[in-house]
Assembly symmetry: C2
Homo-oligomer: 594 residues x 2
Amino acid sequence: MSDYVAPLKDMRFVLNELAGLNEVSALPGYEEATADVVDAIMEEAAKLASDVLAPLNATGDREGARWSDNAVTMPAGFKGAYRQFADNGWGGLDCPVEFGGQGLPKLVAAVVSEMWRSANHAFSLCPLLTRGAIEAIELTGSQEQKETYLPKMISGQWTGTMNLTEPQAGSDLAAVRTRAEPQADGSYRIFGQKIFITYGDHDMAENIIHLVLGRLPDAPEGVKGISLFVVPKFLVNADGSLGGRNDAYCVSIEHKLGIHASPTAVMAYGDHGGAVGYLVGRANEGLKYMFIMMNAARYSVGLEGLGLSERAYQMALAYAKERIQGRAIEGSSASVAIVRHPDVRRMLMLMRSQTEAMRALSYTVAAAIDKALRHPDPAERARQQAFVDLMIPIVKGWLTETGNEITWLGVQVHGGMGYIEETGAAQLLRDARITTIYEGTTGIQANDLIGRKVARDGGATLRAVIVLMREAQQAAAKDAALSELATAFSSSVDALERATAHLLACFASDIRGTSVGAVPFLKLLGIVSGGWLMTRAALAAQAHLAAGEADSFYAAKVASAAFYAAHVLAAAPGLAQIVVGGGASALAIEDDLL
Amino acid sequence: MSDYVAPLKDMRFVLNELAGLNEVSALPGYEEATADVVDAIMEEAAKLASDVLAPLNATGDREGARWSDNAVTMPAGFKGAYRQFADNGWGGLDCPVEFGGQGLPKLVAAVVSEMWRSANHAFSLCPLLTRGAIEAIELTGSQEQKETYLPKMISGQWTGTMNLTEPQAGSDLAAVRTRAEPQADGSYRIFGQKIFITYGDHDMAENIIHLVLGRLPDAPEGVKGISLFVVPKFLVNADGSLGGRNDAYCVSIEHKLGIHASPTAVMAYGDHGGAVGYLVGRANEGLKYMFIMMNAARYSVGLEGLGLSERAYQMALAYAKERIQGRAIEGSSASVAIVRHPDVRRMLMLMRSQTEAMRALSYTVAAAIDKALRHPDPAERARQQAFVDLMIPIVKGWLTETGNEITWLGVQVHGGMGYIEETGAAQLLRDARITTIYEGTTGIQANDLIGRKVARDGGATLRAVIVLMREAQQAAAKDAALSELATAFSSSVDALERATAHLLACFASDIRGTSVGAVPFLKLLGIVSGGWLMTRAALAAQAHLAAGEADSFYAAKVASAAFYAAHVLAAAPGLAQIVVGGGASALAIEDDLL
């Protein structure tokens, strides 16, 4: 397997020229996140990613997490790597300073997170879940809960999990059955089984803080009766030291297609008298709390699509330059490296240009998250939040769908060697396959997009984004070198407008027919959003070239944007046509004729 | 894992209404292949597929083929299943009667082959490779070689392999280095290493007949110096009994993403003094012989895309009908099966309609293969052969690319359960992943298509197919129930014509730029060919409905065709645009800037 090297140059370009790091550094509380500081952080993260995490990716996959006697043993090297990760403060990068975090912007955390995901997707899930649990406690926990759990979770001494799914309750949390019995001391006894619990058990940290959705005895049915509980693996004494083992056990782990080093646990709560749990926030509001955190979790999974794509591209490119096979198609006396073959080049450019577009979009959304939290102007905060809400299903859905396509292409570039596990390309494909499923399938993202994010505000937020897209398109049209790109991008925005108009016109009257087009609409908005940022990237690169800068990075960026316009945006009118005209034929026959 | 049930009804529909079984039965030598006989064969094959082969699919995947001491042990049950398969004569279905085969048409073999591939892809590769070796010996071997090998290979007593690839010679056979030293007795000693040899060793048959590409001492360099040799695992005595062990050993097998039960061998020839081999056909003409067989091999791999898709669809549909999760999007008091969710329905229809289109195309091509071989009119034979030559890269390339998409969707329909190996959906995805690579990658199919199959005859063969497409389109346009389908299909044929015109105009002057569009062109011709046959299917179904037949199969077929037109053909204009305008941007930057 080839090495991973963080693409620092493109990361800096996106940070500074597209996502607006300078605007984020100007927000109250983020003044220390200057370009120099961020650069130093990125270089340190890049070293950890390349030197420590990336080499464990293949070995972790082969060895896998192992379960016996209700406990999980991680693959060799993971415990040490985690210790280094935690000791260097990476777990608390964007966590509150008052509990020991570094208080840096989400934008910086996003860049660093991309590296963890590229280097070792399975490893990166432990801090991802812990970060989610930290946020849950920070936003909804009592002061005592915060003081008890946050410092040790932020320092990485303890990790966290999210326990939502049950066998009958996957996408539909209304069906959750885990129950919580109130005790005289104000605590609860938790009884129930949870499945698909990422890092539900492991041996890398001394305690695991489980956040568990369950029902109080008098709770209403459905989603309005779900409460959130904190259930530590080891109880915590008043002085913060560890007490007895709680009745929360990992009774098995799943045998999965990928992310073998990430233990996916079946958790049994209360099989031996009841697991001690504590209510977080108010009773029956657990689902609301989950929704608060869902944006962050979905955003994080989107970065997995990006990180895996970058790794797949690096691996495929290295192989394509090294593998000598066949003559050049236009004729050559000697055999050539396969990168010379036009179809291999096409695949590599698909990988490269879409990875760049995904990076540009995800960092831009991260900057908007920071602005939505910290901007001094409430109207601007609201505007940024609306943009974030619109884009979260795109970051989750489009980046993970595209990540699946790109890791698939990574195998294809390797030819027969791609099918051999030792090569490493197939692992990326296997690891990527979960990303369009967990934290809400693409279908669920797409329903969220067309319903809550587009139809609900009458398309206002999306229209504001389309205005920005048109501005970029018009700027590009003025540059002769970008005129083809501008034309292709313009057609794709036209397609987006057609699809949006149909959606707004028909969502209320034909929700089933409109929903058939939900995923095609998500993909359409994804590729056009990517086209918007690649157009902006090309404009920025052209400005550098016009200023006489000789760096070939800028010429490559313009070429990448042009390729994206010609090969990726070409799909936009077809997607719009499916949104507009695909509803009836999908629903024409009865289920039993399928 | 759900059961596999052969889709006999759709198979019969395609056989009789689209591929023209009656025309094939009318060919000299195929008179016995009447509809009744074929039906009886299909029902027997369906039983073997469902009862014997399908249950071994998951267990074979888990256990895998195992190697030790230069020999491969197959997973439990495979030896017995193979014995039953061979004893029932399935290995010789379309083989020459004079050597013990049943002499049935390729069309019948195609239907039955689809079942083997759906039931157990890994198992089906053994007869597939054996069939290829039979054909090689039949077409190019001496009478003595035919008498020595064919009866026992056709009976399944012995199996066969094809040894092409070496570490430095994958897609490029010019780089083959295996050498053959002439011996005084007219035989050769073979020295060399071959990799990726499917069923290079196993314990299901008493002998294995290896066909090996190598070079004579005085052979010219490159592809013009490659000869074909037959190298049996056990030497064969003059009386047909088995002699000594030949110096041809499986020295390891690969650890692959999928098809775990199919041993992929590294074969060492001549490590202990030289493997005894015999020249097949004339010296230095081995590559030509390989090309003769390549159509058959590529066609067979295309059927894997179809077979895996059918299995994935059956599995996903069963799960979608059984899994209760969430409320109906238009509102429902109770939870519903997920088949009710519009996006799940969309995915199932994508799986179903494309599987039907692939079946229709592949059987139609099989019928053309039969006509090209047996039609009494030489002009008709030539016309059918040209159609077959054009369509082989489509059957190989489009069916396997689509098979990858459909097995991917199969996992998605299962949600989180799809990622768990025990479910079985992920195995189909893993097994499918090789199909776009072996027997020539999609890129190689696409280069063959645009160069040898389209540009070389100035587009004449393709234009003749487009005439047939237009006829179907015009017929559909006359039926009000099919007018939307006809419009969508017409646009897709327009797109195909635009792309073809560009290809013909620019292939000679800009071979690199044109080749960037090769795979998009292959996909375009694939989906439009599928659209042609789905249009014909809809017309045939409408005729039955018009005749008052109450069978809901026909209404479902019309709906499937309409869905295909709205959702699959919608991509055609975008693909054409890539073919026409995607060359320059893909090649704009130097390789070292990638």
